[in-house]
Symmetry: C2
């Protein structure tokens, strides 16, 4: 009899990333699909999944959602680069991440995978190739909120909760097709590459804390992928310039 699939809490499960991941990985993991609104959460193939309503601003609800989960993929966030700090980025992105980490630690989860963003390092010169864990240099408060989330993950790693922060680049989206700008394509991330990367983040062992590069195998690339390849065996298959038929900058 095969071992039971591990239970993974997926926050922000109704978003684009969560939807693609649960559809691709529904037979490998059991999911607890959590989001502010649950009506969009169709069950994924494979069965055994759960759906819960979760507002990550609610610490008790976040703790409850973690109970029994082996790992958490924390995608829930206000994704708007122009979001307001006090009314949204602080309660949702900063405190929401703290609530999920506290809940996961209390529940004895083995791993939290945090959806950070390339916005955390958007302030470096556009042509520069960055190490995956370049010191934060955001240009907006959304990026600040993601840098805070990374630091909070590191803090909980020191308390025994292993965590990985994924600096997600320009995830496949309609606006990329409308305006395939070379700067975005250097940070392009295809759904199948992110699905593979998140899966590797869930199952990797012997890691306390790391920041990894969430981009496809773009040439040229915003991030140096070497450390992420070595750490996780990540082998991205897509290249933004090829996907969009754009000649790379020389």
């Amino acid at each position: 009899m095969p071992a039971e699939r591990p239970l993974v809490l997926l926050t922000g499960a109704a978003g684009r990333i969560g939807t693609a991941f649960r559809q691709a990985m529904g037979e490998r993991f059991r999911f607890r699909l959590a989001d502010l609104r649950t009506e969009g959460l169709a069950l994924t193939p494979g069965g055994g999944h759960e759906i819960v309503r979760l507002d990550v601003r609610d610490a008790a609800a976040a703790a409850e959602a973690c109970a029994g989960a082996e790992a958490v993929i924390h995608l829930a966030a206000d994704p708007s680069p122009t979001a307001d700090w006090a009314s949204s980025l602080l309660p949702v992105n900063v405190n929401g991440t703290l609530n999920v980490l506290r809940g996961a630690l209390a529940a004895g989860c083995r791993r939290v995978v945090f959806a950070s963003s390339a916005h955390a390092v958007a302030g470096y010169p556009p042509g520069e190739v960055l190490p995956a864990d370049a010191p934060p240099r955001p240009i907006n408060l959304y990026g600040v909120s993601k840098a805070c989330g990374e630091a909070t993950c590191a803090c909980f790693a020191a308390r025994g909760l292993s965590s990985l922060a994924v600096r997600i680049g320009a995830y496949e989206a309609p606006w990329l097709h409308a305006h395939p700008d070379p700067h975005d394509l250097r940070a392009y991330l295809s759904p199948r590459d992110l699905n593979d990367l998140l899966m590797r983040c869930l199952v990797a062992v012997d890691i306390d804390y790391a920041i990894v590069a969430g981009v496809s195998a773009n040439h040229p690339n915003r991030f140096d992928l070497a450390a992420t390849r070595t750490l996780l065996g990540y082998a991205p298959r897509d290249d933004g310039f090829r996907v969009f038929g754009v000649t790379p900058p020389s």
Copy 2:
């Protein structure tokens, strides 16, 4: 006739660092000495200084305190490594720093010097020598709050407000004399070295944003001082192991 001394807003002016700095630099700068409680703020030599009551949790008050200042040294913070997040670290350290940066940008200040902390990187192995700008790796929420402050500084630098974050180590204190632990002495920072470093942070030109190492010339040292020496001409004179008569670890 000598040029008028530049006006520097000093938040947290009544604390140990603020007190030492204004006493040493009162003839070079005019100070606006700001703190939650003003009764401890004796005027410094040189005259022309101001004293204002400031709670950095109050955004309007922080903006008002910045008016007319050429630069800001932002020391105000809850300094306790065990402080509570929601009731103190978040409103005082995180939002207080955002309030000061917003005020300084609106007031047209030329530079903000932010008192970050070696706590932002306390999670690296104890014997490791860190670059001044090592990616944050805090082990407590106080360190998280300082990492958030650094990221907020970087964000405002992108908006045109130059800032420097100083990762202050083990600043001269009675407890160091009682228990001169080698781990602390690697991060020792004497008052005269910090005074010199903060002065250099105020007057340096052509810097948008940087994180610098706030430690004396300890051997061995928690931080590699090379980048901070090059950037600012910082030339610390003290060595914690000599100051405390402790044999360095081999």
